[in-house]
Symmetry: C2
Subunit: 407 residues, 2 copies
Amino acid sequence: MGKLITMLFLLLYLGIHGTLRSQDQDISKMHNPAKEIIVDGLSRPWSMAFLSEEEVLLSEKDGDLLFINIHTKEKRPIKGFPQDRFDTLLYVKENFKPLTFPASLPDSTKVTFNAGILEVVLDPDFKNNRQVYMSYVARGEGGTTTKVIRAELRNDSLTQIRPLFVATPFSEGLFHYGGGITFGPDGKLYITVGERVFNELDEPALPVAQDVTDRRGKIYRLNPDGSIPDDNPDFGPDAVPGIYALGIRAAQGITLQPNTGKIWFSEHGTRQGDEINILRPGNNYGWPVVTSGGYRSSEYQPPTIEGVEFANPVWYWLQTVAPTGLCFYTGNEFPSWKNNLIVPGLSRGSLWRVRVEGETVKSMEELFVDDRERSRKAVMSPKGKLYILTEDLENRTNGKIVRIKPE
Amino acid sequence: MGKLITMLFLLLYLGIHGTLRSQDQDISKMHNPAKEIIVDGLSRPWSMAFLSEEEVLLSEKDGDLLFINIHTKEKRPIKGFPQDRFDTLLYVKENFKPLTFPASLPDSTKVTFNAGILEVVLDPDFKNNRQVYMSYVARGEGGTTTKVIRAELRNDSLTQIRPLFVATPFSEGLFHYGGGITFGPDGKLYITVGERVFNELDEPALPVAQDVTDRRGKIYRLNPDGSIPDDNPDFGPDAVPGIYALGIRAAQGITLQPNTGKIWFSEHGTRQGDEINILRPGNNYGWPVVTSGGYRSSEYQPPTIEGVEFANPVWYWLQTVAPTGLCFYTGNEFPSWKNNLIVPGLSRGSLWRVRVEGETVKSMEELFVDDRERSRKAVMSPKGKLYILTEDLENRTNGKIVRIKPE
């Protein structure tokens, strides 16, 4: 009898509320994102540049620079990529290790696999000059480092390749290259270079990222031809050319905020300490002297550096996110996302929508928490559609171009 | 010269994009939440029930049951609250300790201050029967416990007070009372009771929350008069009356999902392990045998309990949130929030918007990350306005009713 009454109550209740329900859901669905797989089977996609609304250049970290038509799905490699590139596949091949990355390899080995082709960015005047800017991990004497080139794209080939920047010295270990590139509102190239130190106990007395005579652990500002702008900040006579900011650990994502002309970048911490920062000339972002997270070794005591003001991040997470290729949402499909920052994360596979007002983060939304993929890059198409590059969470295979659209 | 060119580029850039900017912001502001302080100076507000769109009953944990007109700001205490109530102020007074909570008190003392008046809920037929349901911390022989009463509200007084439930035994320590109450779609009362164990090393062999002969650490289902529904799940002949689910550590928030009739509740973990769960008859939520977080002591080894299936949470955080009085957003002011779960958090001061589809969390947004307050309760007004109850993050003073509205 009790059960019967309960059921009648429930039916009555659902009856009253059921009519409202479908209408409510229609309204809210306009704001809910869904994924559409555009292309899959890619080899760890890192970056993507739109040649048109349907044609892209896509860099596979463990693969090729590709031309892809995301409408017809036509895909072909771009020929002529420099032979000094180095990546995980080459590493495994040369070391006669089976390619079972990452599950069966020890942790110390896993983390080294950051090498490969990284960023691909078009010249603002690409239509006329066909110039493409790319970063990748190059091999040289003593190891590898981050290298930036530009080339003309003609008939599916890179031609007239010109090295713009090599973050010497070449060093051991395949981690923390940075490699993010964006054009500023001033027509200059902004480039992130990681510090290439895995354990802080291996830092020299003056840590790499704090040492202006060392190219690693910095952000650079170059003219598109690789020359140094004459209005770069002054780091003294011993500084390597082109430094724009220092104290960088492993920044990958760097992007222009369209409505302000500011440049924002993401930064990987060691233990937590994943950050979002705003780039300013001459800034010191503190690594490893100060961090919003912890160090790999609890024994590490960072040195004190006198008379330096360290820039605070705009945001840091309390959990590990491994934020990467961020971009600002400039589309109209999600009206409430306008001018929000979209931040993909590698760790656990995450995608964040960050509402910013001025330089303040107002709210943080983690999207697709029920459908996690390692997310490397968020890119807006010319017409304002949002795409992300992902790979499977567990085995890092099956790289994809995914469109994020309203349900 | 370089600087001049840079400035011209920047001006040109901002000129082109500036015209778009104000229009973009108008669109997005329709979706951005802002806080409006409605009433402040409250003493740790815990719950609020709407008598009308403008009149509320509000429970102060360290204060009174209050009548407040949120339009005129008129405020007056409701007379007749039972004298067996116990709270922090009484504790401090009786122990001759200065009331400098919490900064100057040791950690072990701080965490004990959960006592006071907790939930206040109106009868669905309040207009006719004037019945109010309240939970509070009552003093008895051997300590304190969670008590639920109902009373008639007449002329600003509680009359005909009737105890519905006392979570005996009374025990030491002023923590983990639970105290959440909601009406189900079946017209029954659902009540959360915490397990009252601060350190898991103090658990008996059969942990409190797993022991059906102990009233603590359970969720109850009662008729509004306190009697036991005859269709409650059967936990055996030794079980205390009224148990609906077990394995509860410190659940405070419990709420009805209007469009499904399901009941959702929040749960505090010890070290992380903060959860959102869906209530089902007979479920065992696992504490302390299984948890999505850690234990207070790393030495604690939970017992194995054979033949029991533990219910998984719908969501758990990787950071400490201390989620409390959640509710579903049923308003129209934020179209994209429709049917989302709003979850206030005490730790660090947080407020979460959780988009759910069925029983799956699709996305998690942390709101007001630049304006943190300890948030205890989210409540929808009859006409669909969202209010939260807060207190200052640092010293837990200046309790407020805050309205969340579009910018």
